[in-house]
Symmetry: C2
Subunit: 187 residues, 2 copies
Amino acid sequence: MRADARRNRQRLLDAALQVYAERGADDASLDEIARRAGVGIGTLYRHFPTRQALLEAVYRDQVEELCATARELAGQTPPGQALERWLRALMAFATTKKNLSTALMSGPDKSEVAMSCSTMVREAAAGLLAEAQRTGQVRGDVDVVDLLRMSHALAIAADMPHSHPDQGERLMSVLLDGLRPQPPGQS
Amino acid sequence: MRADARRNRQRLLDAALQVYAERGADDASLDEIARRAGVGIGTLYRHFPTRQALLEAVYRDQVEELCATARELAGQTPPGQALERWLRALMAFATTKKNLSTALMSGPDKSEVAMSCSTMVREAAAGLLAEAQRTGQVRGDVDVVDLLRMSHALAIAADMPHSHPDQGERLMSVLLDGLRPQPPGQS
């Protein structure tokens, strides 16, 4: 793909993500996405022949970004901090996913897209978690399933009516403290 | 209400809760509920003239039980332990509520029932939390909204596909540790 085509593609993905968040993925107008990306509707269709193709590409793009973040953070010390930052990114992703997933799951290739993405996220999480546990910064009795479920659940809880405006962050801070190795005899 | 009528009413509530959990509140058969409670269908209708009346009574009964548990636990020391036990009861209630709430929220009196119940739960939680914070067993920077959202989040997480069989309990143990006063300078 030529450099300007790549740029247009990425602009469309970014614009679509915004419009999905504002209007919901089902009601998003493709014209509006193209306009916001600063390209013609023909360019949109050249890159993404169907609504479903665009939706899946946005989802996959978000997953790839989350995995890239994990790789960048893995170079950092201390590993406990790397995991902490990544969990915040994961929670933000869980909110995005919620916006996309109803529409996403109605497509014909739902299981393929969802499965390959969930494997990528799980591997990214597992690497950061293992390093944080190896260096004693996170307790040993949690695993990658716990982390993924928890971040998903916090994103849902943060979205409930009558929550604090910073509800997700408040719960995340309790979770992060709970993930630290606990003093013996406290439980 | 005579003692045997009260007993029948409670049996119907218990049977309905079971059947709702097994079949969903929308598909529950009133005949089956009466049969399981060991009473005739006429007795069911005398106590609960409509499906909605039964559903609301089951919900209210669960909330009252949760509040009674809070009062019993409030007498216990240490207050940290009282709060911990009550949070487990609250998580179980959140699961029940999920089974009931779609049907519950479609009734005409939804706001009245839901509001009076959510006030009761919030007050029960606030009392236990205040005491646990006053005695230094729970950190000061969480409030009753955090607790309620958290328990709801755990109930959601426990119900997601590919979770651990004891997912709710695993996450609860992390969060309970996170609720303890944290050593200074760790965050």
